[in-house]
């Protein structure tokens, strides 16, 4: 899951070296934290959060397949 978020984020931003993804396992839910360069925030959030929503939707599909609950937070 972490790899998936990382790959999508690195494909979208201008500065892929600054993409950092951490996975925090929990009892009910895995939290994935995504960090990018400040200049690249717009590239992973988008207008009205449209890009962030698309990333979350794709990750959710991957999580359903693994029977897990995942939330992606952009920090």
């Amino acid at each position: 899951m972490r790899e998936l978020v990382k790959f999508i984020a690195m494909s979208l931003v201008d500065d892929p070296d600054q993409v950092e993804v951490t996975e925090i396992p929990g009892d009910h839910m895995i939290i994935i934290e995504l960090r990018v360069a400040p200049e690249d925030m717009g590239k992973v959030i988008g207008k009205q959060g449209r890009i962030a929503k698309a990333i979350r939707t794709v990750v959710k599909a991957a999580a359903v397949k693994e029977k897990k609950k995942v939330t992606v937070e952009i920090v």
Binding site: A54, T57, A62, K65
Partner: protein, 205 residues
């Protein structure tokens, strides 16, 4: 875009070695001859090597396929990806066992993948190419379903005289509803609300 320069005994040889290094075919590149080869005296003295500049053109379809296939690798799903490219758009068709998962609720996963692919392949490019992602003819089936829904709801509006507000839809789906009822003499359609919760309304004229 990747550019490399190569030398060789002949132009042909230089081009071939450049193509090999780029992993490209002739129609995927632009070739510029920088220096022509010459045989020189008796083919030994003063011979000059050919020098060529080979530029690999950006290939939207290939980039799209590579992006999507990597996503599916990381999702652990086996999908066959077919890409068709023309001057302004790329059609991608997916085939596999788990397509329901990739379509998602009302196509939201398919739409998200389509949107992300479009962002990635058009990033920093002058020309914009539209990406159309489909599987198992989902787009057409959804279109037919929306047309039927529009006609059924129009009947209801005529019967009851009350307007009907549909659930939020994306611009593409709203367009299908407006289009289906545009020639109906008894009802009008319009959208209200803000994206991404914009809804189509069907009302009496």
């Amino acid at each position: 875009m990747i550019v490399i320069e190569k030398c060789g005994k002949t132009e042909h040889e230089a081009i071939e070695s450049a193509l090999k290094e780029l992993g490209a075919t002739r129609d995927e590149v632009e070739i510029e001859i920088l220096e022509e080869s010459s045989r020189g005296l008796f083919g030994i003295i003063g011979g000059k090597q050919a020098r060529v500049k080979v530029t690999k053109k950006y290939n939207y379809g290939e980039e799209a396929k590579s992006f999507i296939s990597k996503i599916f690798d990381k999702m652990n799903v086996q999908v066959e990806i077919e890409v068709e490219e023309d001057s302004d758009k790329i059609r991608i068709d997916l085939k596999g066992d788990n397509m329901g998962l990739l379509i998602g609720h009302r196509g939201e996963t398919l739409d998200s993948l389509q949107y992300l692919t479009s962002l990635v392949i058009n990033k920093g490019k002058e020309n914009y190419k539209r990406v159309l992602l489909d599987t198992e003819n989902y787009r057409q089936k959804r279109e037919r379903a929306l047309e039927k829904l529009a006609k059924r709801l129009a009947q209801k509006v005529k019967r009851t005289g009350r307007r009907v507000v549909l659930e939020p839809m994306n611009p593409y789906e709203r367009r299908i509803l407006h289009f289906t009822l545009q020639d109906d003499p008894h009802v009008i359609t319009y959208s209200e609300g803000e994206e991404p919760y914009r809804k189509v309304v069907i009302a009496l004229k």
